[in-house]
């Protein structure tokens, strides 16, 4: 379950994958001259990245699909106080129509009363799936954000300060790496169950999924801190914080964005696996994984209860993975042939 792409070792010859040396996104900084040395078009790397990303067909399709799913999930049933356009509430049981079979019809195109069918007690399954998708997306993005922030800070401090800071932080990372992610997540989820809600679960899961990124960021910092532009900043008396966040970090943004994307896709799967094992989101709260787990035994008898949430999980994870792939190619300066 661990996303291996994040768990790269930090010693030995760097496994750079296709990430390669990175360029900064922030071209109004003092180190523009340094960038020029790196034989990368210095005019506007943000634009370059954007252009490359737009040309990456798979990534763009992933992006469109993800945005569509997010819009669908949040606009259909609404979010918080904001009402949605879908007429039925995911909480309200209704009389079962045709044993809860879906009324969605491709030709002639029509949604019908319950396009995705109804669950055990007659709740509208489209509304439930949308609610589940909302919850899963919230968890995934929370995990992505929390994990990325922690991983970046720890990696940056370890890479920049070296010495005992690095030793402590990296041994901490090593400790976390000895534990299978799914297992520690399960324990965390069980421990935090009483606290309730997907927000807590997402935040707690973020606390254990930062290790891979910390190692990558540290590796980047180790090499960047020796560069001339850092020496230059230091010589004009910039503080460590300023050097880390204003000067070095922008140069590692590509790696971080790619890793964060992949963290989000694995968080979707992590949440579903946890809910499957009974350690994740639980009724009356719902999530895509929880829905699949509840209706796994209905796979042959009421297949729609099993397939809809499953298809949404796969669609979200696949879209995010392709976006990550596109970003990686887009940030890669050696990438001279962007196709697909």
């Amino acid at each position: 379950m661990t996303d291996l792409r994040n768990d790269l070792p930090d010693d030995g010859p760097a496994i750079e994958l296709a990430m390669g040396t990175l360029v900064t996104l922030d071209d109004d900084l003092a180190e523009v001259d340094v960038l020029a040395q790196q034989s990368v078009a210095a005019r506007s790397s943000t634009q370059t990245v954007m252009r490359r990303f737009r040309q990456h067909r798979a990534a763009m399709s992933g992006f469109v699909v993800l945005v569509a799913i997010i819009l669908l999930a949040f606009s259909s049933i609404g979010f918080g106080p904001v009402p949605g356009w879908w007429k039925l509430d995911f909480k309200i049981p209704m009389p079962l129509v045709d044993a809860g079979a879906p009324t969605l019809s491709v030709w002639p195109p029509s949604l019908g009363e319950h396009p995705f069918g109804q669950d055990n007690i007659g709740r509208d399954y489209f509304a439930l799936t949308m609610k589940g998708a909302q919850q899963s997306l919230i968890i995934a993005f929370l995990v992505g954000i929390v994990g990325t922030v922690i991983g970046t800070v720890i990696g940056a401090c370890a890479g920049y300060f070296r010495g005992w800071t690095e030793a402590v932080l990296m041994r901490l990372t090593d400790v976390m790496i000895t534990i299978p992610l799914l297992a520690v997540a399960a324990v965390i989820a069980v421990s935090s169950k009483g606290l309730g809600g997907v927000w807590i679960l997402g935040a707690f899961l973020g606390l254990v999924t930062w290790t891979g990124l910390a190692r990558i960021v540290r590796g980047e910092f180790l090499s960047l801190r020796e560069k001339e532009f850092v020496d230059a900043a230091r010589s004009v008396g910039a503080s460590s914080g300023r050097i880390i966040f204003r000067h070095i970090l922008p140069n590692t943004i590509g790696v971080i964005i790619v890793a964060a994307t992949l963290a989000i896709s694995s968080a979707i799967l992590l949440e579903s696996a946890l809910s499957f094992l009974g350690f994740g989101v639980q009724s009356p709260d719902t999530s895509l994984g929880q829905l699949i787990n509840s209706y796994r035994s209905a796979m042959t008898t009421r297949p729609w209860l099993f397939w809809w949430p499953g298809l949404f999980i796969i669609a979200i994870a696949l879209a995010v993975n392709f976006i990550g792939d596109g970003l990686r190619d887009a940030f890669d300066p050696r990438q001279d042939r962007v196709k697909a």
Partner: protein, 589 residues
């Protein structure tokens, strides 16, 4: 073969296959000859959800319900409980007779040819060890957290046996007598759980010679030093490892039933016919118990990996899936000996301390809809439950219900009536209810959602609380208002007492009613079901008048088996479907 002829042959084959291609198929007609219908398989495999956890199922650490499934075939008792709950004497094992009512005295005689599967006769030392283990009369000198003395033997229960004085007799006797100091309502099913005393003795440094004379002397002489190792072995020596990776040494686990233990690995237990069994021989040579996750049972049955299983929590999808197997599987449904209900916290200053609020809640719970959506899809005969001590499948249910008129007041959902009652209490509407249910259960979550949809219209505001640790919360009055869960019936007369009386161990909501308390004190002293019936009817009526809880329905139960197997049937008692498995057969075709 010349080239030309070969070419012709190939063309012919090609043309032939083209012809076939339009409608034919390859590979047909390679079937093996089918076995004839009157041949029986050597093995029947039964799916269980949890591995058995001990040879001795009566210790305080053994709690796999599936121990009983195995024991049905390996351990004999003086009685056999039928699927309808009636008690039938098991003549093969021995006979018993009540010789006196005051004091209650029962005389038991083991069958002359009754032997353990290692050839040792079943006699007095086995009976005496059983009494010693269950009577709680051998204090170890240690105390538990509450300061109560602990016994040498870690028996699951001393209920009933604690009232029995030490049986008199000598090693080798086939007869023993139990004398009760106080009347015990369920005396007829008490004499169970016989363990081989000769094994316990040998494993504890005592000699098994002379029909276990040394052990008999130790128990009769209350020799704590000699009994300590015996008790240790009795309590822990027969336990299996988690998930049953292997069986203990075969010599330690002789059986007294039609089957004996053969081997075990990875949660799969194999029994084979007991060659020393003196009764009607088993029909199938070998019974295999296979541990499988509850969700995977149907697929395993479909794939022929198991021949029979009883789901502990049957769902409508499972029943539908089984129905999809068509003729390949037989499904029987019925009522389990357990029921679902909503408990109130009627103690202290809780919302439900007011009788009117409880009555209002009773009126708004859509009981018929709950039955229709959760019980009827599994058991078509399911109906709304109106009693607690009797379930609809029991013969006495209708008779008792006739004497409980108040139940009819709540037969229909009455939202207006509920609202009126609530308004009458002077409370500000809506009245907020914390409704707890087990977080692991989707079923309960769905039920609470349904109840909320109805009761919110009557002036309640139901807040669903998914509780990861429901039964801990229940012990903390004030932390919850209502909770939905199940109670298992035992078929015993007096087991419900602690649920309903003031201060009872399972009276989580702190309910207190003087009339109910008084009736229970009479019920526990009767010695037959007939005597208990009118008392219980009166008690049930009072539980409606001063509402204790909302009873919903008797949980539906299912048993499913391959159509190749004949013999199994639905059995709701705690003994499970294997109660007659020695008579099952499986045809080969």
């Amino acid at each position: 073969m010349t080239f030309r002829r070969r070419f012709t042959a190939i063309s012919a084959v090609a043309a032939g296959s083209l012809l076939l291609a339009s409608c034919g198929s390859a590979g047909a007609g390679t079937e093996e000859p089918a076995a004839s219908a009157d041949e029986f398989a050597d093995t029947i495999t039964i799916g269980i959800e949890q591995a058995p956890d001990g040879y001795n199922a009566n210790t305080d650490i053994s709690n796999s319900v599936y121990n009983a499934y195995v024991d049905n075939l390996t351990q004999q008792n003086f009685t056999k409980i039928q699927p309808d709950g009636t008690i039938v004497a098991n003549e093969a094992f021995g006979t018993y007779e009540k010789t006196s009512d005051d004091p209650l005295t029962v005389e038991y005689t083991f069958a002359d040819d009754a032997v353990w599967s290692d050839g040792t006769p079943i006699d007095f030392d086995d009976a005496l060890l059983t009494w010693a283990a269950f009577s709680g009369t051998h204090p170890s000198g240690e105390v538990d957290e509450a300061g109560d003395p602990l016994d040498l033997f870690h028996a699951a229960s001393t209920n009933g046996w604690a009232e029995v004085t030490m049986p008199e007799g000598e090693a080798g006797d086939k007869t023993f007598t139990l004398t009760f100091t106080t009347p015990y309502a369920d005396w007829e099913v008490l004499a169970t759980g016989f363990m081989p005393a000769h094994i316990a003795a040998e494993q504890s440094g005592l000699s098994a010679d002379g029909d276990g004379a040394e052990l008999v002397a130790a128990i009769q002489g209350d020799d704590t030093a000699a009994l300590t190792p015996v008790a240790e072995f009795w309590s822990a020596g027969w336990a299996y490892q988690e998930n049953l990776p292997e069986l203990p040494d075969a010599a330690l686990i002789p059986t007294s039933g039609p089957y004996k233990y053969d081997n075990a690995s990875n949660g799969t237990l194999t029994l084979v016919a007991n060659d020393k069994w003196w009764g009607e021989p088993a029909k199938t040579n070998s019974i295999v118990f296979k541990t499988i996750d509850a969700n995977e049972m149907v697929q395993a049955l479909q794939n022929g990996e198991i021949d029979q299983f009883d789901p502990s929590n049957a769902t409508s999808d499972m029943v539908a899936q089984l129905a999809d197997l068509g003729d390949a599987a037989t499904v029987e449904t019925g009522e389990a000996l357990s029921f679902s209900h909503i408990d109130f916290d009627s103690s202290g200053t809780g919302v439900f301390s007011d009788v009117a609020v409880r009555q209002a809640f009773l009126k708004c719970v859509p009981r018929q809809e709950l039955v229709d959506k959760f019980a009827a899809p599994i058991n078509p005969d399911a109906q709304v439950l109106n009693l607690r001590e009797y379930l609809p499948a029991q013969a006495a249910y209708e008779d008792v219900l006739a004497d409980v008129p108040t139940a009819k007041d709540y037969a229909e959902v009455d939202l207006e009536g509920a609202k009126a009652l609530l308004t009458g209490t002077g409370a500000t509407l809506p009245v907020t209810i914390r409704f707890n249910f087990s977080a692991q259960s989707t079923l309960r979550a769905d039920q609470v959602a349904l109840i909320k949809a109805s009761c919110d219209q009557a002036g309640f505001n139901v807040t669903a609380v998914a509780d990861p640790d429901l039964f801990t919360t229940l012990t903390l009055p004030g932390q919850w208002d209502a909770a939905v869960f199940g109670w298992a019936g035992s078929g015993l007369i007096a087991s419900g007492q602690s649920i309903y009386v003031t201060g009872g161990g399972q009276n989580f909501g702190g309910y207190s009613d003087a009339k109910v308390d008084e009736l229970w004190s009479q019920i526990v002293a009767v010695t037959s079901h007939e005597e208990a019936e009118p008392l219980k009817a009166e008690m049930e009526e009072q539980l409606w008048v001063n509402p204790y809880n909302v009873v919903l329905y008797a949980n539906p139960g299912v048993t499913a088996y391959s159509s190749k197997v004949s013999g199994p049937g639905y059995n709701p008692t705690q003994y499970g479907s294997t109660w007659n498995a020695e008579t099952w057969t499986k045809s080969l075709s």
